[in-house]
Amino acid sequence: MNKLLNWLDDRTGIRELMHEALFERIPGGARWRYVWGSTLVFTFSIQVITGLFLWTAYSPSAQTAWESVYYIQDVMYMGNIVRGIHHYSSSIMVVLMAIHLIQVIIDGAYKAPREINYWLGLILMQIVLALSLTGYLLPWDQKGYYATQVTTKIMGATPIVGAQIQELVQGGPAYGHHTLTRFFAMHAGVLPGLLMLFLGLHIYVFRRHGITTPDPDRAPETTFWPDQVLKDAVACLGVLGVILALAVFKGAELSGPANPSEAYSAARPEWYFLFLFRFLRFEAIEHIGLAFGAIYVPGALMGIITLMPIIAWWKGGHKFNVAFMWLIAIGVGVLTGLAMYEDDKDVGHQASIAEANRDAERVRELAKRPSKIPIEGAGSLLRDDPFTQGPRIFAKYCASCHRYNGHNGRGRMVMEQLKEQENGKEVSRAVASIPTGADLGNFGGEGWWKLLLLNYENHVGGFTKIEDSEMATWSKDSRKAMQDPKNADDVKAIYEYLASLSARPDSEYNKKLVEKGRKIATGEEFITAGKFASCTDCHGTLGETFEATGEGFGYPDIADYGSKPWLTAFINDPGTDQFYGEDNNKMPAFKGKISDRELDLLVRWMTGDYYETEVEDYESKVKVLEEALKARNGP
């Protein structure tokens, strides 16, 4: 062994190199406060290692970037862990970098003769930030796509050459394949290369001047190995523990595939850029212009930070530097906290996040099907999915009158501005809109029929009472019998029968119960006790097939009620004689207003005809709506 080392040493001088590396002198002894630089090198090593492995599975193009990241995250062995480590290490690196910088400024470690090294460190910081920025786009998910759009737009606001810069960065006038290939080349090639170069210089200059010791006589002098190495290793272990915990228990996020035509209102930059995001949101800043807020102000702050070693030449300069640094730190902290607090309180933003999460889970569920992802990319999975598009189409066409479990289909309340006179002045107040159509949350199911039969006048018009209606009269007349405990089994059978008319693919019906219900509903049998006029007294077509039925003359045809063909025909024109008839109808005909494709997606969503899902639907807002409508009437 020794012989081999000697042989090697003769040819390379490795002993001296190792000695140089390991036996750096540390006056005042090894200390915990010296670990931060090492933890940064460590996190960078993690990024290089995990990054190279992720590289083996990543495919940068608009049709494969999201898809390959999904494959890494959800399918490949340990993929979620490797991506999680890479993702959270970048966050941790930014935190460690801030600590390192704050410590350097407080200790005045930027002072002569260490100015150059301080500047090298600032360059390193810019490279790390550029790395996280470029990496954020690579999964090509909605979040990264829209957040990075903001960054490139800011670049476009650069004076004189803005448009050219933006186009060069994007690789064209708009985002596409070349945006990804360029970002990837930067992220995995140019930037890490530069980082290694500057890190080498940083460490070289650092070794030249030695460690900045605030208190050299604190303890006997020691060396890097093994005293400081041990402390560094323990610190790195702690950092690794935090990263692993985040990677395993929280996991890296992957939102839906990027879709330029699908607005993503939940877009936010990575958390450590939130302060800048919030700063740009100040109306005053916005007023002065994007270039001022996004380029000049941060540029000036960075300029002062850069000049700190020179500022320190003057008396009191160092004190100014430290005060300035704390000012920025507090500013960043306050703005970050403000941004988070506001987002947390912002109902609209929370609804956007809920929708983004629903889309993300859904598309990953669809991608896992045996038919996998089509060649045109995962975006088409969501585009053709009733569970995803149905709520959006509902919100667009139906939610001005109807609600879906109290919300607009997409989990948001339907609001309107209410103008009021207050002290002689007109003020407007955002209030919940009053629904004038039924809540379609349980359309066609047992819950739907319960409300329709027991409480017609309050159900079918939403929160607008409908009393002048034969069905409302029937509902009032039959209520007593329907609620009579003696009839409980009969009523259950009636619900089961009526619900079975829709033949939803996601529901199962009890055949015996359905048959019993059919007999009562069509008047073949009577209810056990009390007065109950059978459905066929008016709705003559009940029990037949929908296609075979003719005109209902204002008594809606309820054959196959709630089935796909029924609902399609109904939405197309509810005012025909087959349904309400011209006189009784309040709902507009949508034929010609809604495309066939949209109608198909909407109907399939409402009738449960889509690939089965385990994604949680939006929370019911029925109670919230009730409260809001009570509050609307005001104090």
């Binding site: 000695h19 090492s38 290692i49 599975a57 890190l199 020691t222 560094d232 690794l240």
Partner: protein, 212 residues
């Protein structure tokens, strides 16, 4: 990378230089501190590397799982029976009666990582009609090193232009270059006319016929 930066938690060569010449004498430390420093340094370096390595081994770890997805039938996909035979859409009568080989492209549904391609070309086979009206099929991939075997009209044999492997029309090897004879594939003739084929590829350069 780790070892290039003296500031890092390098674990390499904890051996202390023997011939100490510097004026400054490093303090002597117990074995335990050195061991612990090296050990912890190793752990923190190994964790990201080992997880990454396991991720890289994914094709071996999930082997077999990926091919299962391919069995799923799809209306837009290729016509396939329950034994895995695909309809070549070639009639027996369309093949030369004298047994001259005909190259036919095989379509199948192909799973490639996150994509599933329906009805795409996955390979080519030589089809030969025999006197009894039966059909013999050979994969055109040479069992030697995977080039494409041609039909050589002048010699009425199969011949691989890459390394000169040659086979007779029964697929048997005619020289010592290929390790085995041509890979014959299973064929069904349905309704007396349509050729169905079970398409498979095999490992190259082995004497055994091992499906990939």
């Amino acid at each position: 990378m780790d070892s290039a930066s003296p500031d890092s938690t390098s674990t390499e060569s904890p051996a202390q230089p023997t011939g100490e010449t510097a004026a400054f004498e490093p303090p002597r430390r117990g074995f335990f501190v050195k061991f612990l420093a090296a050990f912890l340094g190793m752990i923190v370096g190994a964790v990201p590397f080992v997880t990454g390595l396991l991720f890289f081994l994914d094709p071996l770890i999930r082997r077999g799982k990926a091919t299962q997805d391919g069995a799923m039938n799809n209306p837009d996909g290729v016509e396939k029976d329950e034994d895995g035979f695909v309809n070549l859409k070639v009639a027996v009568d369309a093949l030369p009666a004298d047994g001259t080989p005909q190259a036919v492209k095989v379509h199948d549904d192909k799973v490639d990582a996150w994509n599933k391609f329906l009805n795409v070309e996955v390979g080519t086979v030589w089809l030969l009609r025999n006197e009894q009206g039966g059909v013999t099929a050979f994969n055109t991939v040479c069992p030697h090193l995977g080039c494409s075997v041609d039909y050589r009209q002048s010699n009425d044999d199969f011949y691989c232009p890459c390394h000169q492997s040659a086979f007779d029309l029964k697929g048997s090897k005619l020289n010592q270059i290929p390790p085995r004879s041509m890979d014959q594939l299973k064929v069904k003739v349905k309704d007396g006319k349509n050729v169905w084929l079970k398409f498979q590829n095999f490992r190259g350069a082995t004497t055994e016929k091992i499906p990939t």
